[in-house]
Subunit: 408 residues, 2 copies
């Protein structure tokens, strides 16, 4: 199995390592930018590459509705469809369906929900969510779970957890029986091949058929994509009950996955409770498997959770905030819409080396935002992603140094 997780350094509870996927290696702890509809909103893929992004997240629910799984599958999976040769993770759709609230109905079999686009009725089961994620072809996919609402009493949290466990078994069973259907390399003449040609001049692509490795290390190239499969991660639920979290972790581990996610958080609970649940859950996850905390977080939180031993995180915050003019800098938050920046000649963040901070003034960024120029979304998103990526680089560096650096 090509999927591999190597821990290379530890510093107290924090770990630095790498995930090896069919679409390149990922240094951990990693923050994964969200590309909901096969696009990190407003940013071209070559810019994402330049930022050093090694893995993106796609949303199964959204992609299932538009452009549809079958279209993506025919075009070589998400990698081919969006011309992204590096790694991708998809969620199971469970969380997004959960967010639909009034538009969904949950049974043992699965979830009936109405599209937020046209109200059309759809159904996700563990099996159909796996089929969708296999068709989309991300490197890492997620078991179909029920995200327990907050607040929930113990009986409700337990019942929900039990169903998530049954769904995890069904997810794994379906995945094991169908994982060979992943579309990698099957779409000859697909955009994947063009993207590999366009990718990174100076890199020798040894294996034409694979053509997907971003690291430019011929020695690490895999013979073809056909031998590789996706990796299915399990999700720990259990509400805010620490005992249920322990039980959910242990029984999910019993089912057996190459990685484990902590789900059911960031659903309205106070932040200190989130941290308490994360910390308690991490205690029950195996040290040699990647740990993915879903839907987190602020720049401070991604540092904090890395410190606690989380390896993977994702959040719409840097991209969504950027589109609303909220920018993260080494000097704190900047709301670029404010009139105080109208004649500010300085860069957004004097300590940032991104192409936005190197070239444009706060005054210009403020003008673009105030004038509703599309370029505001482009530049703001590039900066926020750069800030998050730089933050994680420093976190990994600190762990590797084994020091109690300023990040810890």
């Amino acid at each position: 199995m090509p999927f591999e997780f190597q821990i290379e350094s530890t510093s107290n509870r924090a770990r630095a390592g790498r995930l090896v996927t069919a679409h390149g290696e990922i240094e951990t702890p990693v923050f994964m930018p969200v590309g909901t509809l096969a696009s990190v909103k407003a940013v071209p893929q070559d810019t994402l590459e330049d930022l050093g992004i090694q893995i993106l997240l796609g949303n199964t629910y959204h992609l299932y509705l538009r452009p549809g799984v079958e279209t993506v599958r025919k075009l070589g999976g998400l990698h081919g469809f969006m011309s992204w040769p590096r790694a991708i993770l998809t969620d199971s759709g469970g969380f997004q369906v959960f967010s639909l609230n009034e538009l969904r109905k949950v049974t043992e079999d699965g979830v009936t929900f109405r599209s937020h686009l046209d109200g059309g009725s759809h159904f996700f089961s563990p099996e159909s969510a796996m089929a969708a994620q296999i068709g989309l072809g991300a490197d890492i996919i997620m078991a179909f779970d029920e995200c327990t609402e907050f607040p929930a009493d113990r009986a409700r949290a337990q019942a929900s957890m039990e169903m998530t466990l049954r769904w995890a078994e069904r997810s794994k069973k379906y995945f094991d029986e169908h994982k060979h259907e992943v579309p990698w390399g099957t779409a000859s003449g697909s955009p994947v091949e063009r993207s590999s040609a366009a990718f990174d001049s100076g890199t020798t692509v040894v294996e034409e058929q694979s053509g997907l490795r971003p690291d430019g290390q011929p020695g690490a190239a895999v013979p073809t994509c056909f031998e590789q499969t996706q990796s299915l991660f399990g999700i720990v639920q259990g509400g805010m009950d620490l005992e249920l979290r322990r039980e959910s972790a242990e029984r999910t581990i019993d089912i057996g996955f190459p990685g484990y996610a902590i789900g059911g958080l960031s659903v309205g609970e106070p932040r200190n409770l989130t941290r308490e649940v994360v910390e308690a859950t991490l205690d029950h996850l195996p040290a040699d498997k990647p740990r993915y905390l879903m839907g987190v977080g602020t720049p401070e939180e991604i540092v904090e959770y890395s410190r606690l031993g989380v390896d993977m995180m994702d959040c719409v915050l840097p991209t969504r905030a950027a589109r609303h003019g909220l920018l993260f800098t080494s000097e704190g938050r900047v709301s670029i819409k404010q009139a105080r920046y109208a004649q500010d000649q300085g860069p957004l963040d004097p300590n940032c080396g991104c192409r936005v901070c190197q070239r444009y003034s706060r005054a210009y960024l403020r003008h673009l935002y105030a004038s509703n120029e599309v370029l505001a979304q482009v530049l703001n998103t590039i900066h926020n992603l750069s800030f998050y990526l730089d933050t994680m680089r420093r976190v990994r560096h600190s762990i590797r140094l084994g020091e109690e650096s300023r990040f810890f």
Copy 2:
């Protein structure tokens, strides 16, 4: 005077040459993309540079309202404000004010108009339009004119032309008295300096104080920006009356400008009439001065008018059409929203070398557009601009070959 226009080749009526400005050379005939509010909508400046764009157009009316001339001036003029080291042309605001229709009142002194943003009352005169354009600091600026409406009878067209001539004299007088106020190089520590540092690694910037030349030719560098001024072009009006056009051309030439524009077209008249007026007007413009046809046109038109001897053109068409999903290709127009492209694995234009056609499929571009993703605007605009730029490269090449190529 640093502004210079050299004709290097001719082919029948077509001319290929170069404009030399304080912010680099421009190969002509040239199509100038429109950056209304100090941004070519959705496209970062480094991408515009990569496309080979040598001159952008800014709209004085829009910039006067947002962020205001004084702000731009303080930040080093448009070049510094938007971090664009290459050449810029601004219109006078006359055409945009003309477009306001019910919101304007024209007198001998100037035009009173209401802002399209908040309804606030403003006034442009030849003098204030010059002051605004000097503050914005474009390399080429335009006399304040009245764009005659269509249709207009001869008396109306003549009266309007006469006022434009009087305004041209006032424009020139004010410009000659104030052109030393151009903000170039006066804003020390401004974003211009950062942009020069960020610009084109591998280029040696010989003159730190100027720091604005994109061509990387040390031999062509000017000592400082202080010795240079803007260039003011006159505008020929006269409605659709060829005799008035002749008179307007001759009397504008008598006033004396380093370049001449043909205004008052693309105001609702039929296309064959546009061409007739352009052709007749060109006959009366001096051969040794640049000729700028304002507001034109389609890919076919920019080729056609180059053939007739036009040196400069601008139009919102490639950028605006891109945002509406209308793409120009070597195989004709593509309306990327159409369902027929939903599973089309091919590139948008198989004959295009732009980063969009090299990397993405029609299916992906169709998905982005159909899903209202911001990236659709970014990628579509990059392609359309690339198509226009490539078209003009081929036009110039054809002229230099002196052949009756397929473009002519």
